[in-house]
Symmetry: C2
């Protein structure tokens, strides 16, 4: 819940830029991980300083940066102060080493946060609401900061804090706006930016330790969080405990000892990134009774449903059960499950109501401890009740069209990807309905899951036929779109499967397809690839289509709509071609370096996509199986939560032996290029024999599942 | 903002029952005034006690109750403790007189609130979320209580408090749930009910004074509210200041010295009640920047737009400007203006989005200091964007139908009154659009203001023709409604203009007409009474219709839909009959006694209806004029805020001289039975000559305004 870190770029999502020419202005306690768009959080900014205390603003360049799991260290060059940070779940330990015993201070700034702007109610920016500070004793300060907005344009959230020191400060000053009030213990919230400066003039060994706890409930609870989690002053103990906690999770995937450090670092960094979001805030929900699990910072499920959720389900199903119960609880109290949520507020949807997929994924994989009847109600709310207002906070925008016409018309923004995504959401809803014997809902929504076909237009583009294309509310295909006014004339542009209307013709959120083209979304029919292939002209045409997609650069490695696309060759019996594409993609775009992910991580989406594919598996989220691909490790063992092991051996794996020749499961020949979740959690060994050329038979006869023609319940 | 009072009935809206057999269990700090439905608030409950402190629960019967403006006193019989209360805006002064010097205590209970229930998420009930208490010193306690739900099913609100005493307590105990923790200064919020018991064993003169401040921002701000408003310990001074503040408002209406105390008490009590809601919480908005006026407890505008808002506009236009700016600010930050709002959360709509009427009322009466362009945007949001979810929080439910079909079909609940109310809301929107030269919006919405006619069905009932009746989405009239299942058979009932489908056939909120029949709503076309009369068959038929309405008891004195109905005779040139009805209604239903209002006051709605009619005026809210009726006072002077006076003289008024014979305005004959707002605020004298028989000519020729046929801008 607490995610401390240095802030040196107010417009960076993490507050941090690797660029050392940008000065650090503080270490704040709350961040999200791997996100894009406008920033959120960056609250309760602390800073050790020396010397001149005349200004609220204090910043320094840095060197000697050191980063480990659970640990960050830096030297602030301006004052020559070494700062080390480690953390527990809800409290952080700061260790400061100053360059002298006197004239030192710690600044606690409640007026800082990321993506500050002068634009009133600016979209995707954070807006200051208020703050309060109270110097409680000569070793303790409490207070809060309240901010609204940010990426999800959410309502106000409050971060309460308590800070305690291992030795008393000699004096202090609080401030409001830019004015200091020496020895005034409180600044009451009147909507101003406040903070406290704590002066230490006789530090033992020039050293000072500080613990900060945060809470979303109260500052007393923030204090309690310190006491519960970091009762004493042993920095190394806290660091060790944190690393041990992480080890417990990361060690659930064990790879062979010979694996290269580079590949191991890629895998474990990816696992770590995946587990950072959403954030466990159980007991810290300020909105309703804290009698169940509570998670925040779904950012966004649109990004994470494809690979993050399935990876958590595989490695830490207990956590996934808690996350889903939190989603249902949010529906029960806020009216809708989020597609995205941050700062205790739903928002925003980009396309579908993809919690449906997360729930179906859990259901078909047999996760216990979820009330699937309540989950179905939550999904039905999405599918049946328009969310209102500007229809971007939650639920399904354009639902009136979708339920009346069978597609979202161009009367609504993002009509193309909304239709495609709702179709799959409906399929997932139908699967849960079927499973719990709700026939009425099953029949309605399995039928609706074909709705993507209502926007399938039989046109040709770059040698391929058939694309998801825009249609107006009268059922007419839309051939051209309004795009700007030039020289006094309204300008129309022809709309093609490669058109990208945003952000040039319309706003980023206002195009036909969100963050991708029709080429990409027209391959994104995860429940019915068989029909997609048929409508595309059959296997040969689809093979050509996929090749065109990758070879012409229509594929976007840095975004989610194409996550499954390199695996689609499986459905035409060519898993060898999936393998080739996947390894090309990984080798060209991923590494263990600082920029080892293509673009931002989207809350672990990229990382989990990588982790799965490195292990030789890839899920089709919402469905019960994993596609089998060539792994990056000779041996990967999943230590499953119930004590069983599932081992994936890549026999004869080498740079040259990169094709799958044959597979056995628990010693028996295994002809399918996919494996059921139930086979994995039963424990066992999957031996993948690698060779220089593809197998003639493996994966060719039994193709991965698609929506069956008969929809019997 | 603070409204302290005794609580002896957890299901009473005020927490208070006149029934002395119900024991007082505490004095809580927040209440609403004159509301119905499920209760809200009743937070931070305090109680002076003596003797046995073993239980959290402490209650006593009462006597010696005394109530004055700004003052309440009672003797708690169990311990013989006299409690006196007076208050400033945001802090309350409690004066306790115990029966002995020792073994006394004050209990501060953060686990009490009105309409507590065991039903999880029970509709219209309050649900406990959390609380916290901190004994800060031996004279000060701070903390908060957090509750959600209540009448508007709102999200969580937090009432912070600080309590200070004029002498130190000797010891204390805090509690969590039912367990006491002696000398433990804090109970941190873990979702439990908490509180503090403060023990006083050596009270000077057996007396103890306590001040409590509240805040919706923080407990330090609650403390600041005490310091700002009640800096010392002089009870009488606080009481005097409060009464003086009220006098300043109430004295804006001055009646002749000979007026009977009974009538004066009725008038001034009514004015007082009107001014209690909505509540000024400027500077106390926890949700966004406090840089403008903020009002809460609109409860509901559906109740108050007809007479409360116009009365505030007339007597305290500055307050009305602040209220409307708060409404616009709520739209800007929460997405919609409220029709009802409480605990910082919009909810619920009963019919229309009636903020449109409040804004139009201000606009046509020339209120300055409102950005009417922004106001128009707020109204357009209501009129164009469905609010989503269950469509009861804000905006217009069934809007998809209304904008597609021109009426709300029976696919939606409350289809009848929603259609009628949206038509008038649209008229009001159109009037503002017209005034600020927004022709496009004017033309659309002035046309839509005829939409009530789409549900006008030419049927006969009890001798009258033409009623607003339900229609389905295919345009067919609905003749019967589903009503329960009896003996295994589904039961249909014929639907007539007198049918009341709620709550027997359907839920309270689920009928065709909310809280009234078609007979009532079919008379509620305030913008176009002329067309209503025409469609009803002309003047004679309408006269007969009105007489049937009142004589057969179809009129409901205790609810708002019929507020204008007794004045409708004005539109057929018979103001004498309006007078007769109004005086009959007042004399039979209103008095200065405890039960002197028919039913609950609906946040001052009943009171303001009474006050206007006693002064001889009644507004048609949203329009610029007042209907003239026979006053209850020989002379009523409105001391207008800009220093001008407007006097209404009822010459020869007596029990027998109850008809208006003739009228002059500033000495000139005045033939109209209505007067423009601009004529009143210009100052002057309206002389109404009273007699034993009605005038032959007055009010007969120039009828009050109706929507003009040509809609020129």
């Amino acid at each position: 819940m607490i995610k401390p870190g240095p802030d040196n770029d107010v417009h960076a999502n993490s507050g941090y830029s690797a660029d050392t020419t940008k000065a650090i202005y503080g270490f704040s306690q709350v961040h999200v991980s791997g996100t894009g768009g406008g920033a959120k959080y960056g609250n309760v900014s602390v800073m050790p300083i020396s010397g001149n205390f005349e200004s609220v603003k204090q910043e320094s360049f840095r060197d000697d940066e050191k980063v480990q799991l659970g640990y960050y260290a830096v030297r602030l060059k301006k004052w020559n102060i070494k700062t080390e940070i480690t953390t527990s779940d809800r409290a952080t330990f700061y260790k400061f080493k100053y360059s002298s015993e006197g004239k030192n201070a710690v600044k606690i700034d409640l007026g800082r946060y990321l993506d500050e702007t002068d634009i009133k109610n600016g979209r995707e920016t954070q807006q200051f609401v208020g703050s309060e500070v109270e110097v409680v004793s000569d070793t303790e300060v409490r207070g809060y900061t309240k901010v609204r907005g940010g990426w999800n344009n959410g309502s106000a959230y409050t971060v309460y804090f308590a800070a305690v020191f291992d030795q008393p400060f000699g004096s202090f000053s609080t401030w409001k706006q830019q004015t200091f009030f020496p020895n005034q213990a409180t600044q009451v919230d009147d909507g101003s930016k406040t903070g406290a400066m704590l002066f230490f003039n006789h530090l033992k060994n020039k050293s000072l330790n500080m613990k900060i706890g945060i809470s979303f409930i109260s500052s007393l609870k923030a204090k309690q969080n310190i006491n519960n989690e970091i009762p004493d002053w042993q920095f190394d103990k806290v660091l060790t405990e944190t690393q041990q906690k992480w080890d417990k999770i990361l060690q659930r995937v064990e790879v062979d000892k010979d694996a290269s450090p580079e590949k191991k670092m890629m895998l474990y960094t990816a696992l770590y990134h995946t587990m950072l979001m959403p954030v466990d805030r159980t007991g810290e929900n300020p909105l309703w009774e804290n009698d169940g699990p509570y998670y925040d910072d779904f950012y966004a499920i649109w990004d994470t449903y494809r690979s993050s959720s399935p990876l958590i389900t595989l490695l830490d199903p207990k956590r996934q059960v808690a996350i889903i119960n939190a989603l249902i609880d949010i529906y029960k109290h806020d009216g809708y499950m989020p597609d995205a949520r941050s700062g205790n507020c739903n928002g925003r949807t980009q396309g579908g109501s993809n919690a449906e997929i997360v729930i179906a994924d859990a259901f078909v994989k047999g996760l216990k401890g979820i009330n699937y009847k309540e989950a179905l109600n939550a999904m039905l709310k999405d599918a049946m009740y328009p969310p209102g207002g500007n229809e971007e906070k939650e639920g399904r925008g354009g639902l009136v069209d979708y339920n009346r016409l069978g597609y979202v018309s161009t009367d609504y923004v993002r009509s193309g990807n909304r239709t495609v995504e709702y179709s799959y959401d409906d399929y997932c809803l139908a699967m849960v309905a079927k499973g719990i014997k709700r026939k009425g809902e099953y029949w309605r929504f399995i039928k609706q899951s074909d709705n993507w076909q209502n926007l399938w237009r039989d046109i040709e583009n770059n040698g391929s036929r058939g694309f998801i294309m825009p249609k107006d509310a009268h059922g007419k295909w839309v051939d051209s779109i309004l795009c700007n006014v030039n020289n006094g004339r309204i300008n129309y542009l022809k709309y093609t499967p490669l058109s990208q209307d945003w952000p040039n013709c319309v706003c980023w959120w206002c195009g036909i397809f969100y963050e991708a083209s029709s080429w990409e979304y027209s391959l994104s029919i995860p429940h019915d690839v068989a029909t997609l292939i048929k409508k595309s002209g059959g296997n040969e045409a689809f093979l050509k289509r996929l090749n065109t997609f990758f070879d012409n650069g229509y594929y976007n490695v840095g975004n989610e709509p194409s996550f499954l696309s390199p695996d689609l060759y499986h459905w035409i019996g060519r898993p060898d071609l999936s393998n080739e594409r996947i390894h090309q993609i990984i080798d060209a775009n991923y590494s263990s370096k600082r920029d080892g992910i293509p673009g931002n991580d989207d809350s672990g989406a990229m990382s989990s996509w990588l982790a799965f594919h490195m292990m030789g598996l890839y899920p089709n989220a919402g469905q019960s199986y994993y596609l089998i691909n060539a792994p990056y490790f000779k041996e990967t063992t999943l230590h499953l939560p119930d004590g069983k092991d599932f081992t994936i051996k890549a026999k004869n794996l080498s740079d040259k032996n990169k094709y799958i020749k044959a597979v056995t499961l628990n010693g028996k020949p295994y002809e399918k290029a996919w494996i059921e979740h139930s086979d994995i959690i039963a424990g066992g060994t999957l031996v993948i024999e690698m060779g220089r050329t593809p197998s003639e038979t493996w994966g060719k006869n039994q193709l991965p599942p698609s929506k069956p023609d008969d929809n019997k319940i």
